[in-house]
Amino acid sequence: MRQYALKRIALIIPTVLLVSIIVFTVMRLLPGDPALVILSEGDATFTQEELADLREQLGTNRPIVVQYGDWIYGLVQGDLGTSIWRSGQPVTKLVGERIWRTLELAVLAIIIAVAFAVPLGVISAIKPDSIIDYVSRVITLVGISIPTFFAGLLVVLILSRGFGWLPPLGYADLWDDPWKNLQQMFLPALALGFYDMAFIARVTRSSMMEIIREDYMRTARAKGLAERIVLVRHGLKNAVLPILTISGWQFGRLFGGTVIIESIFKVPGIGTLLIETVFQRDFPTIQAIIIVIAVSIVIINLLVDLLYGLLDPRIRYA
């Protein structure tokens, strides 16, 4: 296991390097001089000094390899650069303040998704073509087809019109006011997790369907175990692997989804920060946020892989 883990960890180094090169290159695809583009946004007037200052601040007056080297050197030390707007605040601080809210949202969403999806998928699989199976298949197909932003609007519409319930206004942090925070985060997490719930339920159903036909399930029944134990200990335990992998992948997608959900529900997370900075063309900040998200996803995928290896010894020797 240790060898497998070391090999997997070593493999992410080239990936992370390439991710950084991609982000860096994309941000320089901008035709012309970024400093000029930023300053001439709208009808703003500017002086030559301002242009030279901004070039200095962006570092675009230096050779591109030096720029990349500087940026990486900073990244390794946890320095993500400085924002162009926001009076030159360090991006690390901006991102650090907000990323926890985004993570909280993503974690809540995946908990909600798994909590609904696994029972739904299992019941669907053990009673195929029953009413519950039919209902759950329709829900899951609808779930994977509804875009996240429409799911968000529908959640607001149904709960406010149908039940007259609205989350308390004004964002509260988890540490300051946990109860208010959870009330506020529940709706966005529900809307965000809806797609994943549908997706995970589909995977659970199909992997349970396969497992139910396995020989060891018949053996477990034949030796007189209670049906509940057969299903949970012999069935679900084996179905957990694909469910876990999918949930890990979905975590990456959730990061994308939070951008939309945060903007609908006005959660001050990293997604709303990204949108603000895209509007302001604050390239150092955009670059920083994207690399933070991409590296987080690489790390989460690594953790899922390691967990997979831990749970299923066959993987390690493959």
Partner: protein, 304 residues
Amino acid sequence: MTTTNTGRAAPGVAAEPQLDVRPKQGVVKRVGAFCRTKPLGAVSAAIIILTILTAILAPFIAPYDPLDLNHEPFAAPAGDKLLGADELGRDVFSRIIFGARVSMYVGLASVIIGISLGTIIGIISAYVGGIIDLAIQRIVDALMAFPAIIMALGLTAVLGSSVNNIVAALVVILLPGAIRVIRAQVLSIKELDYTLAAEAIGARPWRIMLRHILPNVVASYIVLSTITLGLAIIIEASLTFLGVGISADIPTWGGMLTEGAQKYIRTAWWLAVAPGLAISIVVFAINFLGDALRDTLDPRLRGR
């Protein structure tokens, strides 16, 4: 007779091996069989064709001009205004019809370019192998680390958000997945007897890739294109919804759902529900058709 019964070319015979040994089936017959075995898939295909026709014929179908202020602002859905009017009094039904144009154009263009490029790169990567394959796969790994919408936001921030720039961003997003799926298939195809036979009679690599491998990934190409079309449409709509996509002058489904619709969701619910349903129904149909096509054409892709 240039080939033997087993399909292997005899040594020294330089002629072309027979390519397709399946019984030739008419297109009409195959479509008929698909409709019988996959009725829901056929209905979905009809919905998609109808949407494409709507997009092409929008000016002839729409009852009103999508930009004119024809009704009272916030007029509720009724007889001559099927889906009501928006905050300026524009006809929502006509705007939905015109909105199909952007969704369909962006979706189809990005999928055709992205999946085709991905197929070409995937075939080369797998067939040539070695250091080229390794390099391409590492880049694919790295590209996979970016969530689609984040990548799209970054690219449109840099490129600007014209319709064609959004297509370009979507191509970059669709590429890695397509490369990976096609590469995996080609890796197994290139070990099959007919490829080895073609190599044995001295066919050049490009000929093998073009005549022996390409025809065998066509099924995956069709399935991949269908499945990713839904994703492309959703991402375009999401970008426009967030306000960084296509400009508000053009009626788009994502655009109709933006701030305006969010603000009025408690009073004029149809403003958000109409475009939301339009996107959901089209994507639903695409997903259904994708599933049906996959089961029919390429069961190996099941579970992807």
